[in-house]
């Protein structure tokens, strides 16, 4: 090679920006998924905190101007946590850690890159849609139609990106394994990701169909039914409640099983039982059928036997998985030492929160208590999503060396953040659970009638819930700081 060739080669070398946007490296894409997802979780937590502040006085609008504005932030909190937050964060681990567990590269890396960017663009559109007075409809019809259409379109793109990434991950697990490695031999994170991705691929397609229906009716002439401002959220809400949200917790249980097995250096006993239990957990998480919007005269779908049985059946299944986890911990406790690793503590707390959430989910469907529209639903959401955030954070910390690099890890700061996330989740979950038992509605609006005319005492509980939101936010902030310091240390080292 001549000097001229060398000069030309160095001239045409891509800049760091070109490198970043054209990459098909799963680790770089994983960082985009992870950072984007955790940022959305942080934004969702801020929205949740603002709604919590508004709930301090149920009879008037103090933080927001109207019930419609409260609704926009309330729904943004749920969308940001599920579709823009934890699912992409799980995708970060699915595109980086899972292929390594399968001893092969990520299949369809270019498609995975397109999925990541499509999700990012969709997430940006969704956030902009919420900020410009759109969102997913409002009970009073006070939102801007065009902004609502932008939110729905953004959501569709985000769903499209998540679906495409899921296909890449599932194909990697199914066909990217070396010859002789069966699905039963996979680590739990890969296995639960396969089961979870299969279930959410089935559900996200249905959710996309719901969104298309709402969008088509929303555009042009006045909406007939599906695109009416007060109807959009109800069509999509099934994705953010029992049983669909359990699917997010499944990979977290897999992460916990792998982490505990790794830190205790102990093989999981009754492996097949745990594999079957996790598959059953995934099966019971399928929730595309539970669409209250399409209820026909008769028993509502949320009170049908299939919903109730699923809500109760998932409790013993989770108990079996957590029992397996506890057994491994018991047998390997001697290897843990005096200071158990931070990620193991967080993943164990996450598994316990999932178990608590399934118990709350079972209580919620007991017909005589009439809790389906109460803030028990919010408590259930908070517990499941808190557990997922905690578990994903534990995964990021455990595999941080592969994702970011070896330098600058701060386990102490991470553990502090994790304990804050767990503590905040418990405070929100318990306070909302008791408020629900005292008849407080899930969406409280800005007047007592919308709030369900709850008993006295919910004011104090709402204050506890708001404090829980602050603690959760502080924990997430600490984690973002830990992640930034970790990244900066490795970037400095690389330079």
């Amino acid at each position: 090679m001549t000097t001229t060739d060398n000069a030309a080669a160095s001239d045409s070398a891509p800049t760091s920006l070109e490198q970043a946007v054209t990459t098909t490296d799963p680790v770089v894409l994983g960082r985009v998924w992870g950072f984007g997802g955790m940022t959305a979780v942080l934004l969702g937590a801020v929205a949740g905190l603002l709604v919590g502040l508004e709930r301090l006085d149920l009879g008037s609008a103090d933080v927001f101007g109207s019930a419609d504005e409260v609704f926009q932030f309330w729904s943004a909190h749920r969308v940001a946590f599920v579709l823009l937050g934890v699912l992409p964060a799980l995708m970060a681990l699915a595109t980086t850690v899972v292929p390594r567990q399968c001893s092969g590269p990520l299949v369809f890396p270019r498609a995975a890159a397109m999925a990541c960017w499509t999700w990012l663009i969709g997430a940006g559109m969704t956030v902009v849609g919420f900020l410009v007075d759109g969102g997913l409809g409002t009970p009073g019809g006070g939102g801007q139609r065009e902004a609502t259409a932008l939110t729905v379109m953004g959501l569709l793109l985000a769903i499209g990106g998540l679906l495409l990434a899921s296909v890449c991950v599932m194909t990697t697990i199914v066909s990217g394994r070396p010859a002789g490695t069966g699905l039963r031999d996979l680590p739990y994170t890969a296995w639960t990701t396969l089961v979870g991705a299969t279930v959410w691929t089935g559900m996200l397609g249905v959710l996309a169909a719901n969104a298309v229906l709402a969008y088509v009716d929303l555009r042009g002439r006045p909406a007939v039914r599906f695109g009416a401002e007060d109807a959009i959220w109800e069509q999509l809400s099934w994705m953010f409640t029992h049983p669909a949200i359990y699917v997010l917790a499944l990979p977290v249980l897999g992460i916990a099983l792998d982490l505990v097995s790794s830190v205790t250096r102990t093989e999981q006993s009754n492996r097949d039982v745990v594999l079957v239990a996790t598959a059953a957990f995934g099966f019971l998480s399928f929730g595309a059928f539970a669409q209250t919007f399409f209820d026909t005269p008769g028993t509502p779908i949320a009170e049908e036997a299939i919903s109730v049985v699923a809500a109760f059946a998932i409790v013993p299944v989770t108990l079996a998985i957590v029992g397996g986890l506890a057994d491994t911990l018991r047998r390997g406790a001697a290897n843990l030492g005096s200071k158990p690793p931070a990620e193991a503590v967080c993943s164990l707390l996450a598994a316990l929160l999932v178990l608590a959430a399934t118990a709350v989910g079972a209580v919620r469907v007991i017909a005589p208590l009439e809790l389906l529209d109460s803030s028990v639903t919010g408590a259930h959401f908070a517990l499941v999503l808190g557990a997922v955030v905690l578990g994903v954070g534990a995964g990021f910390h455990h595999w941080g060396e592969e994702l970011v690099g070896p330098k600058g890890r701060r386990p102490g700061l991470f553990l502090l953040g994790g304990l804050a996330v767990a503590g905040g989740t418990v405070l929100v979950g318990v306070a909302d659970l008791v408020s629900g038992l005292l008849d407080q509605a899930d969406f409280t609006g800005v007047d007592l009638a919308t709030a369900g005319n709850p008993d006295s005492g919910v004011g104090g509980l709402n204050l506890v819930s708001m404090v829980g939101s602050v603690v959760l936010l502080a924990g997430l902030g600490l984690w973002m700081l830990t992640g930034s310091l970790h990244t900066a240390a490795n970037r400095k080292g690389a330079a």
């Binding site: 030309a8 098909t24 092969g104 590269p105 299949v107 270019r110 499509t118 663009i121 379109m153 569709l156």
Partner: protein, 263 residues
């Protein structure tokens, strides 16, 4: 030999066919309707029967695919390819522009659906172009085992198409953007803008030609900043609108000659 995958899917197929027949006969089917797909007699409840028969068809197809591809067995693949070992399931691929452009195209299509048809059509064009480019890149990667020869094969085929098309689009977009800027300026202002832009372009061209050792990244940077500036100004002025044009002799005449108000 029947593969394990085929046996699994075939088992499901048989179960669903039996379910369809059972559903038919328990919902008012007559004669051999459920067995003969409705050729002789009724099939009972049409909805359940149709869903189950379609499901059976899909499961049978899965079974046949599993059989045809030998359950994607590595040894069978190696035998078909005449190799000792099957190749890697996923060949390493380098950086690529197509994923990000594909996502931008899809994003533009989505935004265009909400905001303006022109953005929607632009998005569709980007998606179509990316589809062609991505396909050609994938094709070229399988031309031979040599990545350099593969890249050359792609360039030989696509460069004669890409350069004229991109050049035409680039010139068209820049002309459109500059025309919007000039039409939004006052009459005298348009002259000054055109003069200033011309001098800047000429000056930069002289600078680049006088310094052949200028790094390519710097030239690319200058071009990129210039193009973005013209595009942004073009979009902003297109949104703000053209200056007012007053026709000579009132609105009744369609005379080519017209006077323009200077603002």
């Amino acid at each position: 030999m029947l593969t394990t995958g085929f046996k699994l899917w075939f088992g499901f197929f048989v179960a669903v066919v039996l379910a369809a027949v059972f559903a038919g006969y328990t919902s008012g089917a007559t004669e051999t309707g459920p067995i003969s797909l409705g050729w002789k007699g009724g099939v009972g409840n049409h909805v359940s029967y149709t869903i189950l028969v379609f499901a059976a068809g899909v499961l049978a197809l899965f079974g046949l695919v599993a059989l045809a591809f030998r359950d994607a067995d590595a040894e069978a693949q190696a035998e078909v390819l005449g190799l000792d070992e099957a190749p890697e399931a996923q060949a390493a691929v380098g950086n690529s522009l197509w994923p990000i452009f594909g996502a931008l195209g899809i994003g533009s299509t989505g935004v265009g659906l909400v905001v303006h048809p022109a953005i929607f059509v632009t998005g569709l064009c980007i998606v179509a172009a990316v589809a062609v480019e991505w396909t050609m890149t994938n094709w070229s990667e399988k031309v031979s085992g040599d990545p350099v020869a593969n890249a050359e094969a792609r360039e030989n085929l696509m460069r004669p198409i890409e350069i004229p098309v991109l050049g035409t689009i680039g010139v068209g977009v820049l002309v459109l953007a500059v025309s919007r800027i000039l039409l939004a300026s006052s009459v005298t202002g348009a002259v000054w803008v055109a003069t200033a832009v011309g001098i800047v372009i000429f000056g930069l061209a002289v600078l680049v030609s006088k310094r052949p050792d200028l790094p390519r990244a710097a030239v690319r940077g200058i071009l990129f900043v210039g193009c973005v500036a013209v595009l942004v100004l073009g979009i902003v002025t297109a949104v703000s609108g053209e200056r007012e044009f007053h026709h000579k002799g009132g609105g009744g005449h369609h005379d080519d000659a017209h006077a323009e108000a200077d603002h």
